[in-house]
C-alpha cells in the first residue's frame, strides 16, 4: 500500500534502471531506444494519472502524497513523455549518448517528482539537486558548437551559487525553527519572518527556487542554456522543469504568506522586473530559443503574480497557469524541434515559409504563440486573466496594470514569430513531413489549448482542490 503511494517515483526509478542498462550497450540503437523510452514514459504518465487520487505520507512525514503533488507528477510525466515523443530526431545529441539522454531526463523527472512531494527542507534540497544535476549534465551534451559547454558551465555555476545561497538560507531557517520539516516550520513562520535573520533566511532559500523558475535576478542562465542546450533538452527545461519549479515555489512561497506587506512587495517587485525585463529583452532576440528563454523569464513573473496573492484563488490560478504553460510552451517547442530537425539553433527568421512547408505545424505554432501571448480563446488567455483576477482581488492594481501592459509588449515578439512563419516566403525549402504520431500530437495539443481555454472550469476546480491540500 505504501509502495503504491510511491508508485510513480518507483516506476520512474525502474525506467531509469532500464535506460541505464541501455546506456551500457556498446552500439547504440537509436530507434529502439526512442521507442522503448517513449512507451515507458507513456506508461509512466498513465501510472502517474492513475495515482492522482492517492493521499498519504511517507518516509516519516518527509514526503507527502496529495492531490497537489500528484497533479504535478502527472504533469511532469506528461512533459517527459511529450519530450520523448519529439525526440525521434535527436540530432542535437550524438547517437551513442541517446540512452544517456533518456536516462538523465528520467532521473531529472524523478528528482522533480520527489521535489513536488517533499515537505522536508533537506529532501527538497537533494531532490532539487538531483533534477538540476541531470540537467547540468544534459546541457553540455550537445553535439557541435562550443556554446553548449559555455551554457553548461554558466548553468552549473549560477545553479551552484544559487543552491549555495539556498543552503545558507536554509541553515538560518533551521537555526531559527530547529526543524527541517515544513509541517513544523509553517506554524513558526510568522515569528520567523518577524525576525530579520529569519526573513533573510527565507529570502536566501528562495534564491534556489527562483533559480529553477528563472525569476529575476536568478534568470541569467536561462537565455544561455536555452540557446546552448540541445533542442529537446531545452524543451524539457522549458516545460516540465518549469512546472516543477512553480510547484516548488508555490510550496515555499506559501511559507511567506504571513510575512505581511513587505515580503509581498518584494515579490511584487521581482515579479514586475521579471516580466518587464523578460519581455523587453525578448523583443530584440533573433534566436528563437533565446527569445523563448526571455519569454519564460517573463512568464515566471506572471506566475509570481498568482503566488503572491497568497490565497487559494491565487495559487489555483498559478497551478492552472503552470499546467497551461507546460502545454503551450511545449507546443511551440515541438514546432521548433520539427523545423530544426538537424538539431541546430533556430533563428526566428528560419521559420520562414512554415505555412507552406507544413500548415499543420504553422497552425500549432500560431495557437501556441497566441496562447503564450495570452490571446483568447486559449489556455494562456484564461490563465493570465485568472492570475490577474486573483491578484486584483488582493488589491494589486499596479501589478495587474503592469502585467497587462507587459502582455502587449510581449505580443510584439510573439507576432514576429507568426510573421516569420506566415509571411516570409521560404524559397526552396522542402515541405516538412510529419509522422502520424506527431500529427496526432499536433491535433491533441491544439485541441487542448483551445478547449481548456474556452472551458477551463474542470481544470480550475482541480487546481483549487489541489491547492486546498497544500494550504
Amino acid at each position: 500500500m505504501t509502495m503504491l503511494l510511491f508508485g510513480p517515483e518507483l516506476y520512474f526509478l525502474l525506467v531509469a534502471l532500464v535506460l541505464f542498462f541501455f546506456s551500457l550497450r556498446r552500439t547504440p540503437k537509436v530507434k529502439a531506444d526512442h521507442t522503448v523510452a517513449t512507451v515507458l514514459a507513456l506508461v509512466g504518465f498513465l501510472v502517474a494519472v492513475a495515482c492522482i487520487g492517492q493521499k498519504g505520507e511517507l518516509f516519516f512525514k518527509a514526503y507527502r502524497v496529495d492531490l497537489f503533488s500528484q497533479i504535478f507528477k502527472a504533469a511532469l510525466a506528461l512533459g517527459l513523455f511529450l519530450v520523448f515523443m519529439i525526440s525521434r530526431n535527436l540530432a542535437g545529441i550524438e547517437e551513442r549518448l541517446h540512452a544517456e539522454f533518456y536516462l538523465f531526463l528520467t532521473t531529472c523527472t524523478l528528482g522533480m517528482m520527489m521535489l513536488v512531494s517533499s515537505v522536508e527542507l533537506l529532501t527538497i534540497y537533494v531532490s532539487l539537486e538531483l533534477s538540476s544535476y541531470s540537467l547540468y549534465i544534459l546541457v553540455p551534451m550537445r553535439r557541435g558548437d562550443d556554446i553548449d559547454v559555455e551554457a553548461g558551465i554558466k548553468y552549473l555555476f549560477i545553479g551552484a551559487v544559487s543552491s549555495g545561497f539556498m543552503l545558507f538560507g536554509l541553515s538560518y531557517i533551521f537555526g531559527a525553527t530547529h526543524s527541517t520539516y515544513l509541517t513544523d516550520i509553517i506554524p513558526k513562520m510568522p515569528e520567523l519572518l518577524a525576525s530579520p535573520i529569519g526573513l533573510v533566511g527565507v529570502l536566501l532559500s528562495l534564491a534556489g527556487f527562483f533559480f529553477k523558475l528563472s525569476v529575476f535576478p536568478f534568470h541569467f542562465w536561462a537565455p544561455d542554456v536555452y540557446q546552448g542546450g540541445a533542442n529537446q533538452v531545452v524543451t524539457f527545461i522549458a516545460t516540465a522543469s518549469k512546472a516543477a519549479a512553480v510547484a516548488l515555489v508555490l510550496r515555499i512561497a506559501a511559507l511567506g504568506a504571513g510575512a505581511g506587506y513587505d515580503f509581498a512587495q518584494a515579490l511584487v517587485i521581482l515579479s514586475i522586473i521579471s516580466m518587464t525585463l523578460g519581455n523587453l529583452v525578448a523583443i530584440i532576440q533573433k534566436d528563437f530559443k533565446r527569445m523563448l528563454a526571455y519569454s519564460s523569464i517573463a512568464h515566471a513573473g506572471y506566475v509570481l503574480i498568482g503566488i503572491l496573492a497568497f490565497n487559494e484563488a491565487g495559487y489555483s490560478s498559478a497551478v492552472y497557469y503552470a499546467l497551461a504553460y507546460l502545454i503551450m510552451n511545449f507546443t511551440v517547442f515541438m514546432v521548433l524541434n520539427e523545423v530544426a530537425r538537424d538539431g541546430r539553433d533556430l533563428k526566428i527568421a528560419e521559420l520562414a515559409g512554415l505555412y507552406h512547408r507544413s500548415p499543420l505545424l504553422s497552425m500549432s505554432l500560431i495557437l501556441g504563440i497566441f496562447a503564450l501571448a495570452g490571446v483568447p480563446p486559449s489556455i494562456g488567455f484564461t490563465g493570465k486573466l485568472l492570475l490577474f483576477t486573483s491578484a486584483m482581488n488582493q488589491g494589486y492594481f499596479l501589478l495587474v496594470l503592469i502585467g497587462a501592459v507587459n502582455g502587449t509588449i510581449s505580443l510584439y515578439y510573439y507576432l514576429r514569430v507568426i510573421y516569420a512563419a506566415y509571411f516570409i516566403k521560404g524559397e526552396g525549402l522542402p515541405p516538412i513531413q510529419l509522422s502520424w504520431p506527431t500529427k496526432m500530437l499536433n491535433y491533441a495539443l491544439c485541441a487542448t489549448i483551445l478547449f481548456f481555454g474556452v472551458a477551463p472550469d474542470s481544470i480550475i476546480e482541480l487546481a483549487r482542490a489541489a491547492v486546498r491540500t497544500v494550504l
Binding site: A313, M392, N393, A404, V405, Y422, F423, D457, R464
Partner: protein, 490 residues
C-alpha cells in the same frame, strides 16, 4: 433590467454559425475554392439572417433584455455565458451581419490563400458578434480580443501598402488598449465583492467614486484606442490602408464600433460617476477628433487614408454623442455607429474594387473613374456624400442627434463639430472630384465595371443606408428603447 429568456438559442446560433463554418473550412482543401466561398457565405448568411430576425422581432414595447441565454461557465470565478439583445446592441448585431455578409461577397474574387482567409475572417466575426451580445465581462473581453487579434494575420498576408508595419502597429496598439482594459475590468470585479462578471449584477453595485473614476478612464482609454479616439487614432488610417478590402470593411465598419460600444456598455454603464467625472474630457477629445480628422484627411492622397481619417472624424461624432450622456446624444451615437459602419463598409468596398484592378489608390493617379466604371464610382460617391452628411442617408440623422445634444451640453465643442462639417464636405468632394471626375487616366480605361453579382453587396449596403435615412424612426425607436432605461439607471 428585465431579462426574457430565449425560446430558441438564436444568439448562440448567430455566434456559432461562423465557428461551425470555420471548422468546416478547416477540412476543405485550398483548391475547393467554390466550396470554401459557399461555406463562408452560408455561415455569414445565417448570422446575417438571424441578426435581421432579432432586430425585427425584438419587442420594443416589452423592452429589457431579450433572447437571453445564460449558462454557468466557471463557477469559481463567477463567469457565466450570458448573452442577450436589447435596443442598443441589436443595431450593431445587424451591422455586423450586414458587413460580414457583404464582406464575404466582396472578397469573392480572392485568389490567394482563400481557405485561410475565410477562416480568420470568420474567427474575427465570431469575436465581434460575441462582444455585441455578451453581458458577462469575461466573455465580453474574451470576444473583444478574439476580434482584434486575427487582424494581424489578415493584414499581414492579404494586405498591401506597408502592411508589416501596419499590422504590427495596429495589433500592438489595440492590445495596449487591452492592457488598460484588463485592470479596469478586474478592478470592478474585485471591488464589487460579488465574485461575478455579470454586468447586470455589477451594475447594481455602487462602486466608490475613485474606483469609478479610475476604472472609467482606464476603460475609456483602452476601448478608446479601438474606437479611434483622438489622439489614439493613428493606427486606424495605417491599418485601413494596409488591410484587404473586406477586412477594412469589417475593421472600420464594425471593429471600431466595438470600442465605442464597449465604452457605452461597460464603462458608462458600470461607472456612471466615473463617466460624469470624465465627460468633459471625453467631449474634448471627441470634438478634437472630429475637427482633426477632416483637416488631416484634406491633405491625404491615398484613398484609403482619406477614408481612414474620415473615420476618425466620424468616430469623434460617436464619442461626442457618448460624452453628452443624454438620451439624444446616446441615440445619435449608437445610430452613428451603425450608419458609419455601413457607410465605411461601402467606402472600402468601392475602393477595394477599384484597387483590385488598378493597384493604385493615389487620387492623383486615378481620375475620371466615373467614365470607366460608372457603377463602382456611384457606390463610392454615395458613400462620400453620406460621409459629408448629406441628408437622406442614415448618418445625417445620427449626426443631427449628436450635434444637437452636444451643443446643449458642450456649446463650444458642439460648434466646432458642426463647423467641421464644411471641411468634411470639402474633404469628401475633393476626393470624389479627383478620383472620379475629370479626364480618365488612359492606363485604366480598359477595366470593366462592377458586375451585377459583385455589385450586390454594395447595393445591400446602400440599401441599408438609404432605408434608415428615410425611416430613421425604425432605428431610433429601437435604440431609444434601451437608452432611456440606460440613462435612468445611471
Amino acid at each position: 433590467m428585465t431579462e426574457h429568456l430565449a425560446s430558441f438559442p438564436y444568439l448562440s446560433c448567430m455566434l456559432l454559425s461562423p465557428v461551425v463554418g470555420l471548422f468546416i473550412l478547416l477540412f476543405l482543401k485550398e483548391h475547393q475554392r467554390l466550396a470554401i466561398r459557399m461555406v463562408s457565405l452560408v455561415a455569414a448568411g445565417i448570422s446575417f439572417g438571424l441578426s435581421i430576425y432579432t432586430f425585427v422581432s425584438y419587442d420594443k414595447a416589452l423592452g429589457g433584455l431579450q433572447f437571453v441565454e445564460k449558462y454557468q461557465w466557471v463557477k469559481a470565478f463567477g463567469i457565466t455565458y450570458f448573452v442577450g439583445v436589447e435596443g442598443m446592441n441589436a443595431p450593431l448585431l445587424l451591422l455586423t451581419g450586414i458587413v460580414i455578409f457583404t464582406g464575404v461577397l466582396t472578397m469573392w474574387e480572392l485568389q490567394e490563400r482563400v481557405k485561410e482567409y475565410f477562416i480568420f475572417q470568420l474567427a474575427l466575426v465570431t469575436g465581434v458578434f460575441g462582444v455585441f451580445m455578451s453581458y458577462d465581462m469575461f466573455f465580453f473581453f474574451l470576444f473583444y480580443e478574439i476580434a482584434v487579434v486575427p487582424m494581424y494575420i489578415l493584414i499581414l498576408i492579404w494586405g498591401s501598402t506597408r502592411k508589416i508595419y501596419a499590422a504590427m502597429k495596429l495589433t500592438l496598439y489595440l492590445m495596449a488598449g487591452s492592457g488598460l482594459i484588463i485592470p479596469g475590468i478586474l478592478l470592478l470585479y474585485s471591488s464589487s465583492g460579488l465574485f461575478t462578471f455579470n454586468m447586470l449584477q455589477l451594475h447594481a453595485v455602487q462602486f466608490s467614486p475613485w474606483v469609478q473614476k479610475l476604472t472609467f478612464v482606464l476603460m475609456y482609454l483602452g476601448f478608446g484606442v479601438l474606437a479611434g479616439v483622438w489622439p489614439f487614432h493613428t493606427w486606424s488610417p495605417v491599418g485601413h490602408v494596409a488591410a484587404p478590402t473586406a477586412v477594412s470593411m469589417l475593421h472600420a465598419g464594425v471593429l471600431m464600433k466595438l470600442g465605442s460600444f464597449a465604452i457605452l456598455r461597460v464603462a458608462m454603464y458600470l461607472c456612471p460617476q466615473g463617466f460624469q467625472y470624465w465627460a468633459q474630457f471625453m467631449g474634448l477629445l471627441a470634438a478634437t477628433g472630429i475637427v482633426y480628422g477632416v483637416f488631416v484627411g484634406l491633405a491625404q492622397t491615398d484613398l484609403k487614408y482619406v477614408i481612414g481619417y474620415s473615420s476618425v472624424s466620424h468616430m469623434g461624432i460617436v464619442g461626442l454623442g457618448l460624452a453628452t450622456g443624454t438620451v439624444d446624444g446616446l441615440n445619435g451615437a449608437v445610430f452613428q455607429m451603425f450608419a458609419h459602419g455601413v457607410m465605411t463598409a461601402l467606402f472600402f468596398s468601392a475602393v477595394g474594387y477599384i484597387y483590385d484592378r488598378t493597384h493604385t489608390r493615389d487620387i492623383h493617379e486615378l481620375g475620371g473613374f466615373s467614365k470607366i466604371m460608372p457603377v463602382a464610382s456611384a457606390f463610392f460617391i454615395t458613400a462620400a456624400l453620406c460621409g459629408a452628411g448629406v441628408p437622406g442617408m442614415a448618418s445625417f440623422w445620427a449626426e443631427l442627434l449628436v450635434l444637437i445634444a452636444a451643443v446643449k451640453v458642450f456649446p463650444i465643442r458642439g460648434l466646432f463639430a458642426i463647423a467641421s462639417l464644411v471641411i468634411g464636405a470639402l474633404f469628401a468632394l475633393r476626393v470624389v472630384q479627383n478620383t472620379f471626375f475629370n479626364e480618365p487616366n488612359p492606363k485604366f480605361t480598359h477595366f470593366e465595371d462592377v458586375s451585377p453579382f459583385l455589385g450586390l453587396p454594395r447595393m445591400i449596403l446602400i440599401g441599408f443606408l438609404i432605408f434608415f435615412g428615410l425611416f430613421p424612426q425604425v432605428m431610433v425607436s429601437m435604440i431609444k428603447s434601451s437608452i432611456v432605461p440606460f440613462i435612468q439607471g445611471m
